[in-house]
Structures are given as C-alpha cells and as structure tokens.
C-alpha cells in the first residue's frame, strides 16, 4: 500500500513541477526572453560557485565520516600491502592536487566569465607555450607514478623466496578448498578427471602420486606470521578470484590455468584484533570475480598465528589420503602404497614447477 502511496506522491510532484515549468516559460516569453535569459544565467553561474563550495565541504565531511571505515585507517597486514598503501597515498596526493586545481578553475571560470553585455569574449585560439606546458607537466608526474608503480609491481610479482610455505587454494561454486603439501613440502599431482567429492577426493588428487599421501586438506587457511607464503591458486568450475583484502592482494583462480601469488603476513589474527580494535576481526578470503548466484557468499578464513600455534594445529590434522583409505569400501580400492612411490618418483611434483 505504501508503495502506491509513494507513487502517487511522485506523480503529484511531477505534475506540479511540470505546471511550474510551463508557467515559467510563459512568464519568460511575456517578460522578454533577453531578461529571463540574463536572470537564469546569473542564477546558474551563482549555483556553480555554491556547488563548488558545498561540494568541497561535503567531500571533507564524507572523508571524516568514512575514513575510519576504510583500510587506510589500519596498517596493511603484509609486506606487499605496505608498498601498495604507500603507492596509494602517493597517487592520492598527486591526483588530489590536480583535482582541486582543475575543479576550482572550472567552476570559478564558469562563474567569473558569465555573460554580461559589457564583456567581449577574448579571441584566444591557441598558444604553443601553454600547450607544451600541459603536455610536459602531466607527463613528468605520470613518469614518477609509473616509475614507483612498476618498481613495486615487479617486487610483488617477482619470485617467491625459497623458504616460502606452499599452500594450495582451489575455488569452486561457492567455497574455497585448502591443501597443504605436508612434510615433504610437495603438493601431490592432480587430475581433474579423478574429482569425486563423495569418495573424499573433492580436489581430484591423483593418489598414485606418493607426494600426495601426506597432503593435508582443510577448510581454513592457517599461516605463520612473518613467514613468506606462496599460494598456488586453482579453480574447478568457473573463474574465481582470491581476494585478500587485509593483505591488499588478489589473484584470479582460472580453471585449467594455475596462478600464483606470494606475500609475508605481518600480524597474527590476535594482533590484528588489537590493531583494529575489533574483537571479531578475522582475515577473510573474498571471491572478487563474479562466479554465479552465490558469489557474494564465497567466503574463506585465514588464521595467521605464531609458529608454535601453527605446529600444534598442523599436528592435529590427518592427511586426506589416510582419511580416504580408512573409509574406503572394497568397491573403490586404493592403490598399494609401494607401487605408488615408484610412480611418484617418475613424475615431477607440482610445487617444484613453481
């Protein structure tokens, strides 16, 4: 009912506006178009200045309201993130100056040079010096931004350190699956045709590869603080994207094409709770590439902890191969482990490829 009521009010507002608009047109013709034109010109020119001033105030007000709710208000949780934050501030500073300068000039000119009978427009068709000035100056600023940007870009996308912890993350509609390489630090080979969630092989791991036998599968990602982590990213069905907002990173998960990313977490989850003052703080993995109707709910959790806590957690995990073998029924035999090791030796493990 209230919906129709709102529609009725809207319709009424329309009619009133229309009638006023129509009447003012008659008035303008009767009063003399020249006179009305001058009056409207003055009003609109004045409104430009009002818009400029109120707009700048509103921008400042908006910033004071929302700055604290953005990530600018908290430190980046990874080393790469710190570089990105610096780059962000630098770009805000440069573009901010340009923004203020050009917007103020634009609205100020629109006001100052509004039509009067007295003024003659100044015939000014071109000036090579000015043209050169605003070709070269922006080019210099952009060179600086490109320089910084690419310097960091190559650092961030460069090779992961040798001592990185390898973790595999796989996206599917609509959740994330995590796999650790286990003691051998090598992820077992996968073949998507072996995927069978009902028999405990949701990732399509090839159990014939011995390197897979100590692989740990998990639903939460545990990372060690200050230890570089090398993510190997996969997708099973459609493109997803591993969004790590607190680390300021993201990377697509593409079916058939593994991608990678690496970073070093700087704060444990507990430390971040103190830093952000939010006792419910948790590192979240968001899906940042639209992947279907459940896209908005594709959430994963990362727990960054000390080495001891991590070791305790890891000790409590059982390799997926063992779980599968324990629950295996005679109809789905698991290959004998002695033949498996031979096969594995002949195959290059995935983690070494990266």
């Amino acid at each position: 009912m209230s919906g129709y009521f709102i529609l009725a009010i809207l319709a009424l507002a329309f009619v009133v506006t229309f009638q006023i608009a129509k009447a003012s047109e008659y008035v303008s013709v009767l009063k003399g178009e020249e006179k009305t034109f001058k009056q409207n010109n003055r009003i609109n020119a004045f409104l430009f200045i009002v818009f400029l001033v109120l707009g700048l105030i509103a921008a400042w007000w908006c910033n004071s309201m929302y700055y604290g709710k953005t990530l600018l208000a908290q430190p980046a949780a990874s080393d790469h993130g710190e570089k990105i934050d610096f780059m962000l501030l630098l770009t805000i500073a440069v573009t901010g100056v340009v923004f203020l300068l050009t917007q103020i000039l634009l609205f100020w000119f629109a006001y100052k040079y509004q039509y009067t009978e007295k003024r003659k427009a100044y015939f000014f068709a071109h000036d090579n010096k000015l043209e050169l000035l605003w070709t070269v100056v922006p080019a210099i600023f952009l060179t600086v931004l490109v320089g910084f940007g690419l310097f960091y870009w190559f650092k961030i996308t460069g090779d992961a350190p040798k001592n990185s912890q390898v973790v595999e993350i796989t996206g599917k509609q609509f959740n994330w699956m995590i796999r650790y390489p286990g003691k051998d630090n090598v992820l077992g080979r996968k073949n998507y045709r072996l995927t069978d969630a009902s028999s405990g092989n949701a990732l399509g791991v090839d159990w014939e590869d011995g390197a897979s036998h100590d692989d740990i599968e998990a639903t939460e990602m545990h990372l060690v603080v200050n230890k570089p982590v090398h993510l190997v990213i996969n997708a099973q069905d459609v493109i997803h994207d591993v969004g790590l907002v607190h680390f300021r990173l993201k990377m697509d998960a593409v079916p058939g094409i593994p991608t990678t990313i690496w970073f070093t977490p700087k704060y444990t989850t507990t430390q971040m709770k103190e830093i952000t003052g939010n006792k419910d703080f948790v590192y979240e993995i968001s899906c940042d590439q639209v992947c279907g109707t459940g896209h908005y709910s594709m959430r994963g959790v990362i727990i960054v902890e000390t080495q001891e806590d991590y070791d305790t957690w890891m000790a409590s995990q059982k390799p997926q191969y063992v779980t599968v073998k324990e629950t295996a029924t005679p109809s789905t035999p698991v290959p004998d482990s002695t033949t498996v090791t031979k096969v594995a030796a002949a195959n290059k493990p995935i983690a070494q490829l990266n």
């Binding site: 919906g3 608009a21 129509k22 003012s24 008659y26 010109n41 609109n44 020119a45 509103a58 908006c62 709710k69 990530l71 990105i84 962000l88 050009t102 634009l106 000119f109 629109a110 040079y113 509004q114 039509y115 009067t116 003659k120 427009a121 100044y122 015939f123 000014f124 068709a125 043209e131 605003w134 070709t135 922006p138 952009l142 931004l145 940007g149 690419l150 960091y152 870009w153 190559f154 961030i156 509609q173 998507y192 969630a197 459609v238 493109i239 969004g243 907002v245 990173l249 993201k250 593409v254 990678t260 979240e284 940042d288 639209v290 992947c291 279907g292 109707t293 896209h295 908005y296 959430r299």
Partner: protein, 604 residues
C-alpha cells in the same frame, strides 16, 4: 491571447516555406512507412536511434533502481515487487538470480544499447551530413539497415528478459566458463544464447553505421570543408567510427567462439572443468583468451562511448563561451592519440588474471600515457572558458558538468591503470565508482548536452528550460552523491557484484551509506523521467524555434532551414570558407563558416 500564441508567435508560414523546395529534382510522395519506419533520411534515423536509446535507458536505469533496492534496504521487503516479478522477487525481496540478471542487463543495456547506439547512432547520423555539408549519408540504405539491425538486436535482447531461466547473469563482460556452462548459472542457459545473438546483430548494426560514418566524412564534405575546418564533433565521431570498425569484429569473433563452446562442444575457452560434480571432457582451451578478445573491443568501447561526448562538449563549450575552442589542433591530436592508445591498453583489465608481469608493465605505461592527451583536453576546455562570455544554456551546463565528471573519473583511472594499485582495487567498488563517473555519467552528460543543443534542429522546438535546469542540477549533485562515497567502499575493499555484505566481517560497515546511495539513485532516476517527459512533451508542445540560428553558431547545420527537409539545403549546398570557431574575432560576435574571409580580417 492564447498560451499557444504566447509561445509560438505567428511565424509558422516562414518556417514551412522551404518544404516546397526541399525535394526539388526528385520529388516523391512519402507514405507513413517510408517517412517514419523504413526511412533513409539521416535525420529521421537519428531520431529513431535516440528514441530507441531513451526507451532502453529507462529500462536499464530502472534495473539499477531495483538492485539498489536490494543493496540499500537488504532487510526490507517490497510486496509490490512480487506482484510484478513473481518468483524472481519472492516475498518482496530480489532473489540472487534476479540480482545478477539485473546487474548484467543494466551494464549491457547502458554500455551498448544506450551509450553506443543511442549516443553515436543519434549524433553521428544527425550531425555528419549537417555539419560537413552533405545531402545525406554516403549510403542511406545501409544507414537504414544499421538502425534495423539495432532494432532486431533490441528485440532479441528484450525477449531474453522474459525467458523462464532469465536473461544473461554473468556480468556484462560475460566471462566464460561461467557464461559457457548452463550448469553453472541459470543465466547461462538460453538467456546467454539470446545475449550472444543479440550482440552479433548489434555488431552488424554498429559496423554498417561506422563504415557509413567514415566514408561520409571522408568523401562527402562540401566545397571548402577541408578536414582541418571540420567542427570537433566531426573529428570525434570520425575517430569513434574508426575505433568501432576495427574493434567490434574482434568481439564478434569472441562471441561466435563462445556460441560454439556452448552449443557445438568445442573447447576454445574450456579446460579441465568440474562443475557441480560433473566432469566435463573439454581440455586445452583458455578462459583467458576470451578476456583478451573481449577487452580488445571492451577498452576501445569505453572511448567509443566517450569520444562523441568529448566532441559535442568541445563544440557546445566554444559556442556558448563565444570564444574559439582553445588549441583546435591539439584537440584533434589528442583525440587521435586517445584513439591509437585505446587499442594498446586492453590488458589493463587483466592485471590479476595471472598475466605475465613483464607484459603487464607495458600496459601500465601505455595506460597511464592516455592521461596526457586527457590532460590536454581538460586544460584546453578550461582555457576555452577563460575570459569567455559564457551563456549558461542547459546544453552549456551539461558541458561544464561533463568536464567536472571527466576530471573526477579520469583521475581515479590513474589509480586503476597502475598495476600495483590495481592488485588492491581491482573489482572493488572503486572500479564501479571510477567507470560510472568517467564513462557512464560523463557520457550521459555529453549526450544530454547534445540533446539540449540540437533539439531545436531535430524538432524545430525548444525543450523547456525550467525542467532542464532541474534536470541538470539534480543529476550533477546526485551523480556525485552516489559515486563519491563509493570510492570509500572501494578503499575498504568491498568487492563488486555482491548482493549482500552482512555475512562479512570486513565489508559490513556500510549499511548506512548504501541506504543513502540507493535513495539518491531513486531520486536521480525520477528526474531522468522528468527529462524524458520534457523530451516527448516538447516534440509536440515545445516553444517553436523562430530563428534559423538560435545559438549564434558558426557551423553549417544552422544554415539549413529551421525544419530541414530531405537533402537538408533547399538550394545549393553552401561553400565553406573558414574553420568552425571564429567566435569573438575582430570584435564580431561570430562569423559563420560560410562567410568568405574578408580582405582586412586578422589571422589567428
């Protein structure tokens, strides 16, 4: 005295005199069918494009209001929605399927059907023959076909809205495998085939139109109209057409391959896929290939949308500042530079797809290079205003608004084009804010400026000024109120295309802002309806144009009769003697292009 005579005076005779001469030489009877439906006159085709575009804009805009309802008021239910949309809005709430379909169709409709066909189609058709001095387009028949292919594309796309499984729902960029696999999403079933067929038809329309625009501008300029004497609108539309002709076929190939993957079992984009537990046989394809093909059009598309707006703004700004456009050749040069660079930056949409970082570096450099010609344009517009004698007509207001929005949205492009920052900001609301301001709202402002400026030429009547002022101020203020705060959501990392943020610890802090944005969006939408009303009302009831050259402009379209007939000029096509921007020269208000250069005239 009746109100009609107050507005229109008694000059109807003078206006209609020309009609006897318009078709001299090949006089023929026009039926309703040849005049309004299968019309080959460029002015009527322009109107067809514009009105079809307006209808699409209302649909596309309404879709955004619907999904903003979900984002702004996630806890409320609107029973009226269920009455209208049935199971798509069960319990008065927009379902997830519906949300993604709305978002996808909003993008598709506004990018392609409104801001490409509605903007280029309208103003290229209307202005090219009128401003270069031609009787019509190079091929009136192809031009007619161009509209009718667009109409067919519109019919197919509109039909897809009524399919049982709904229209395409994978985002307007329709990345496979999501768009290739019906199992992965309802919207990837029949709706996706309709989308692809519609786009194929659309591309045919765009190519027919584009080739026509290029050949007309190159071949049919009147005597004396050298390329460097053309108004900037012509240059902008010329480059737009070149962009479209060279890039749209690439999207066509991408779309056809996707149709094959969907229906013929090929594996261009598919490899090693397990969807909903089903193991697919496809191997060896690349999902990323599609993104290359898509963005090879997709990025030039941004400039296909923006360049005509830039051209019209340049023209309108010069006319209403009563000053020449500053740095005409620099303006042409920067349009040219943007056109070239538009082809060389597509992979900046793909920095986080696993693209080779070394390759990415080149795309960073080339992307940020676009800021240089953009800066030239902005400063030239500012200098055009400087020491002018500015008439703030509705068209001029929108032109100034365009520059403001182009600056705001252009500067955030410097963030996103820098790959280091893109890792953080990619696919967040920062991107949404960026492209809505710079390509969406700014181009709309260019389009509105064009409509207000050339409406008198199209319909021999004026739009109502009061409604125009309300339209401008609410839209400008509203655009900033909607999209400025969105940057903050982006800086908080909020991902795009989420129907609901309440389950996220990192993203749930903006409920109040979302409600505010949604409310403003609805008000702005209502005011656009006011514009549409003004448009149609003024076609029939607007104040009549009394003078041939109401804005005191130099260009050729204002030398035609108030209501030009077939062939535009009743007699000979006028000869051109100068560039289009002699405003305020030698103490004269303006000197039309058709006036010969005087003996003692100063040089510029």
């Amino acid at each position: 005295m009746s109100s009609e005579t107050i507005l229109h005076g008694q000059t109807t005779e003078a206006i209609h005199v020309h009609e006897d001469h318009a078709d001299h030489g090949h006089h023929h009877e026009e039926s309703f069918l040849t005049k309004y439906i299968f019309c080959q006159d460029h002015k009527m085709i322009a109107k067809q494009f514009l009105i079809t575009g307006i209808i699409w804009a209302i649909i596309g805009g309404l879709f955004s209001v619907l999904f903003r309802l979900q984002l702004g008021y996630p806890d409320m239910s609107f029973p009226v929605l269920e009455d209208v949309f049935g199971r798509w809005a069960k319990g008065g709430r927009i379902s997830n399927e519906f949300y993604y379909a709305l978002v996808t169709m909003h993008g598709t409709i506004l990018v392609f059907f409104v801001l490409t066909a509605g903007l280029s189609g309208t103003f290229a058709n209307l202005l090219i023959p009128l401003q270069i001095g031609a009787r019509d387009m190079a091929s009136g028949f192809l031009n007619m076909l161009s509209y009718w292919f667009f109409f067919l594309a519109s019919v197919v796309m509109f039909a897809s809205l009524f399919i049982q499984t709904g229209p395409a729902a994978g985002g307007w960029t329709i990345y496979p495998p999501l768009s290739a696999l019906g199992q992965a999403s309802e919207g990837s079933k029949l709706g996706m085939d309709f989308w692809l067929i519609s786009m194929a038809l659309f591309i045919v329309s765009s190519l027919l139109g584009g080739l026509n625009y290029i050949s007309t501008i190159l071949n049919l300029r009147t005597k004396g109209m050298s390329m460097t004497r053309m108004p900037l609108t012509m240059w902008a539309i010329f480059f737009t057409a070149v962009l479209g002709v060279l890039s749209f076929p690439v999207l066509l190939s991408g779309a056809v391959l996707l149709l094959f993957d969907r229906n013929l079992g090929t594996s261009f984009y598919l490899s090693e896929i397990v969807v909903k537990g089903e193991i697919l046989p496809n191997e060896g394809g690349s999902a990323i290939l599609f993104q290359h093909l898509f963005w090879f059009l997709g990025h030039p598309e941004v400039y296909i949308i923006l360049l005509p707006a830039m051209g019209m703004v340049s023209e309108i700004m010069s006319v209403n500042s009563r000053k020449p456009i500053f740095g005409y050749l620099a303006m042409v040069g920067s349009l040219f530079a943007i056109t070239i660079l538009a082809f060389l930056v597509w992979a900046h949409h793909m920095f986080v797809t696993g693209l080779n970082p070394f390759l990415g570096a080149f795309f960073v450099l080339l992307t940020l290079l676009i800021a240089v010609p953009s800066a030239i344009k902005v400063f030239n517009w500012l200098t055009t205003l400087w020491r002018g004698n500015i008439r703030l007509t509705p068209a001029m207001l929108f032109a100034i608004g365009f520059v403001s929005l182009f600056i705001s949205g252009g500067l955030t492009g410097i963030f996103l084009g820098n790959s280091t920052l893109d890792i953080h900001l990619h696919d967040t609301y920062f991107v949404v804010a960026h492209f809505h301001i710079v390509m969406g709202v700014a181009s709309f402002f260019g389009m509105f400026a064009g409509v207000y400026h050339w409406f008198p030429k199209m319909y021999s009547r004026y739009l109502n000024n009061t409604m125009a002022y309300i339209h401008f101020w609410v839209t400008l203020v509203g655009a900033y109120l909607i999209f400025w705060p969105m940057h903050y959501q982006g800086l908080a990392g909020l991902p795009r295309r989420y129907t609901d943020f309440s389950n996220w610890q990192s993203f749930n802090q903006f409920a109040g802002m979302n409600r505010f944005i949604s409310t403003v969006a609805m008000i702005v939408f209502a005011v656009q309806l006011l514009f549409v009303f003004n448009f149609f009302y003024s076609i029939f009831k607007g104040r009549k144009v009394q003078s041939q050259n109401p804005w005191g402009a130099n260009t050729l379209e204002w030398t035609t009769p108030i209501t030009p007939g077939h062939g535009n000029w009743p007699g000979e096509i006028p000869e051109v003697h100068r560039w289009a921007y002699d405003y305020g020269k030698d103490g004269r208000e303006f000197i039309a292009q058709v006036e010969p250069v005087g003996a003692d005239e100063s040089k510029h």
